[in-house]
Subunit: 159 residues, 2 copies
DNA sequence: CACGATTAAGTTGTGCACAACTAAGTTGTG
DNA sequence: CACAACTTAGTTGTGCACAACTTAATCGTG
C-alpha cells in the first residue's frame, strides 16, 4: 500500500507485522494489567474497577450506566456486575433515575471519594513503570486511537 | 523528563498521557478481539485459540505446554482448559511425554492441519481492518515491545 | 541412595469481556 | 390514544486471565 523495502514484499511484511502487532498489543495490555494489579492491590480495586472509578471521579454528578459504558467501551453485561461489586465495596451507590426509569445512575459515596485521595499516586507509578518518554507516549496514543477507530469501523462494516 | 511544551507541565502531561495510553491500549486490544472474532467465527476458533494454533502450526514437531505458554506469555491455568477445548474440537492431541512424564506435548491432528489452509486468509483481513501503513505498523510494534519490556521489568522489580 | 527443592501440568475460585436474551420503560407514528 | 420500535439495565452462558494451590515427576546435593 505504501513504501518500497527489499527483504520482503510489502504485502507479506504487512501481514507478518499485523500479526505481531495484535500479539504485542495483547501482551502489552496484559503487562499493564499486571502493573496495575500491583498498584491497586492496597486499594482493593481491579484495573477495570479503577477505570470505572476514574470516570465517576471525573464528574461531580452521578452518571448513568450507559454513559460509563460509552466512556469505557463496555456494555451492561460487563458493567452491571462490576458496578455491583463496587457498590458491595461501598464505593458507589446505584439508584434508578427519576426522570427516566430505564436508567440507573451511579453516584460516588463518601468512601468512594475517600479512596480518590489514596488513588492519587497510582498514575505516577504507572507512568514510571511504562518507561516511555513524553514523545513516545504521544505517538503511541495517537497510533492506538487510530487503530481502534479503524478496527471498530471495519467490524461495524462486517455486520 | 524530556522536551518543552507550553500548555501543561511535562510531568502532568505525562501522567495524563499514560492514563490515556493504558486506556487506549485496552480499547485497541478489545477492538482487535472483535475483528478476530468475526474473522475466526467460521473456523470455530476464539482469538487465543487461534494464537495457540499459530504456535503449533509454526513447528513440525509436537510442543510441550510449557513452550506454548512461553511463546504466548500464558500460564497453565489459562492454557490447560484452552488446549482441552482444542482437543475436544479434534484439532490437537495431548500426550504425556515419554522422556519427561511431567510434561505434556501437544500435537496438531490431521483436522488441525486441515484448518491451517482455511485460516490462511485471516491475517490479510486483519491487516486490512487495522488500516495501518507499513511505517506505522513498524513504529507501533516497536513501541509496544518496549512498553511491555518496561512494564514486565517494573513488575518483576516490585516482587 | 535419600530427600528436599524444583519443575510441569492441572484445578479452583474470582473477575473481566461479550453474545444472546429478557424485562421494563420511553418514544414515535398512525 | 394505541401500539410497534427502540432504549436501558440486567441475566445467563462461554471463554480468557491469573492467583493460589495440588499432584506428580525430576533434579541436586549430602
Amino acid at each position: 500500500m505504501t513504501a518500497p523495502h527489499p527483504p520482503l514484499p510489502d504485502d507479506a511484511e504487512l501481514l507478518r507485522l499485523d500479526h505481531q502487532i495484535c500479539f504485542s498489543l495483547h501482551a502489552a495490555a496484559r503487562a499493564f494489567g499486571g502493573v496495575y494489579r500491583d498498584a491497586l492491590k492496597d486499594l482493593g480495586l481491579t484495573y477495570p474497577q479503577y477505570l470505572a472509578m476514574l470516570v465517576l471521579w471525573e464528574e461531580p454528578d452521578p452518571q448513568p450506566v450507559k454513559a460509563i459504558g460509552e466512556r469505557l467501551r463496555l456494555d451492561s453485561g460487563t458493567l452491571s456486575p462490576l458496578l455491583k461489586r463496587l457498590e458491595a465495596a461501598g464505593l458507589v451507590a446505584r439508584e434508578r433515575s427519576a426522570e427516566d426509569e430505564r436508567s440507573v445512575v451511579v453516584r460516588v459515596t463518601e468512601a468512594g471519594e475517600g479512596l480518590r485521595e489514596r488513588a492519587l499516586p497510582v498514575p505516577r507509578s504507572i507512568a514510571a513503570a511504562s518507561g516511555l518518554s513524553l514523545q513516545d507516549a504521544r505517538t503511541l496514543r495517537g497510533l492506538l486511537e487510530r487503530l481502534t477507530e479503524s478496527l471498530d469501523a471495519a467490524q461495524a462494516g462486517e455486520r
